[in-house]
Amino acid sequence: MTTSTLNRPQLIWRALVLPAALVVLWSLLDAFGALNGDIIVSPLQVLKTSYEGFADGSIPGATIATLLRALVGWTIGASIGLAFGVLIGLSGVARGLFDPSIASLRQIALFAWIPLLSAWFGNGEVMKITLIALGAFFPMALGAQAGCQNVPAPFREVGRVLELDRRATLTKIVFPAAIPSILAGLELSLNIAWLGTFGAEYLIGTGYINGMGDGLGAYLAAAREYARMDQVLLGVLFLALIGVALDRLVIGFSRRLIPWRMP
């Protein structure tokens, strides 16, 4: 049976096989006393910690703080990236002005911006959001630029022979042709923003001083500090789950937005 003949629930069950097997293996190892409590705690312990985390509100609180931070940074970065990308993709002058600089800045690893940004903005929220936005900016700008620049020549020619004016050429030919590339940029920018959010929370600042408001990254940093392996595992688990959920959300949205197929 190929994947395409499976329906959605079947696919979901299949995707859960590996994680479930790992949990079983983990439990067995624990049952036989093979786990060193300092490095890997038991599944039961993680479950208990997550119950406590939910009961005192620290896990949902941190999750919401992280999500909010990610979404704000992503929205800002992706919006500016979209505008820039479209501009550079459409205008030769703008491309000449900005493209070389953007291409160079893009080579700087996201976390290498931290020293510079913290010198400018301190270690507060402004700095974190800026870092996340910066991460989201580049893939979005690149996707939008590529999409607007690489409209297949045959489609452009259709616009020419139908004497479409500039506005109609943009709305009926260039932008639709660019949408797949723009959405790819959007997906990637969300990925990077999510990574950047964790990095910002984990690396910047002074630890878990503001409590749950500092997010999952700070929660993890604190957990590591106090050697709370149960909390570390829980935090990682949550980051992964939310990352996957965000990714799926954007992909689902993309599919809905482009029902057509390129020839």
Binding site: P154, R160, V161, L162, E163, I173, P176, W260, R261
Partner: protein, 264 residues
């Protein structure tokens, strides 16, 4: 079928005459020079139906692109109604060999796009689009996206898009190539009917010698490397023509012989 043409255009002056004089074009392909067209000259009268046949690579599409204004020759002159072509125009409609429907628009919207830059009310345009959809036999597929259509259906939608603005000069690049023989002969007759009604000039590239003779006033036979006109055949005989008429058979033999001969 009732004539539902609503985008009216005064038809007082003769339009759509073509003058092609000494047109040459070379392409550089992987370091080699390809003589796509070499010193091609051809005058087409207003209202004429011309077919171009010839082996692939003899410059048929290139010539059509020049007429559409999408490309220009290296040397020589191409004029429509005495005016040198320097850009595409809705007065010169082209149906591309690869149908080129926009994948993000439905059949309906693809056809309507060719009316976008024309004057006329939305209602008029909608009526015109529906008339053409019916004409090419795509009723029921108004909302279908191009990837949901067969090759033949896409080609028919592209023909509808080409016809919609009622261009005085209609350029068709193997428009019926992807169609089954039944649809094909139906659309040949529809094409003739439209041509007679609109009094437009038609330049059609085709692989099908019979189709060329059935439809055209003249059949231009081209040869490749370098691309040029080998011979032009006048087709007399009133329409509708019959494929087993002695004249029809004779001219078909002459053209196929010439094509077979030029191929070696």
């Amino acid at each position: 079928m009732a004539d539902a043409l609503t985008l009216s255009r005064p038809k007082t002056v003769e339009v759509g005459s073509v003058q092609i004089s000494d047109v040459s074009k070379t392409f550089r392909v992987e370091g080699r020079t390809v003589h796509a067209l070499d010193d091609v000259s051809l005058a087409i009268a207003s209202g004429e139906f011309i077919s171009i046949v010839g082996p692939s690579g003899c410059g048929k599409s290139t010539l059509l692109r020049f007429l559409a204004g999408l490309d220009g020759p290296d040397s020589g002159r191409i004029a429509v109604d005495g005016e040198v072509i320097d850009r595409p125009s809705l007065k010169r409609g082209i149906v591309f060999q690869d149908h080129r429907l926009l994948p993000w628009f439905s059949v309906e919207k693809n056809i309507a796009l060719s009316l976008h830059s024309l004057a006329g009310s939305e209602a008029e345009k909608r009526e015109r689009v529906q008339y053409l959809i019916d004409l090419v036999g795509l009723s029921g597929f108004e909302k279908a996206l191009p990837h949901e259509l067969s090759g033949g259906m896409s080609q028919r939608a592209a023909i509808a898009r080409g016809l919609a603005p009622r261009p005085p000069l209609l350029l068709l690049d193997e428009p019926l190539g992807a169609l089954d023989s039944l649809t094909r002969s139906y659309l040949q007759d529809e094409l003739l009917a439209i041509w007679e009604r609109e009094k437009s000039t038609v330049v059609m590239v085709t692989h099908d010698v019979e189709e060329a003779i059935y439809l055209s006033d003249r059949v231009v036979v081209m040869e490749p490397r370098p691309g040029r006109i080998a011979k032009i055949f006048e087709v007399s005989g009133k329409r509708p023509r019959h494929r087993d008429d002695p004249d029809f058979v004779t001219i078909r033999r002459e053209i196929t012989d010439l094509l077979a001969h030029r191929r070696d």
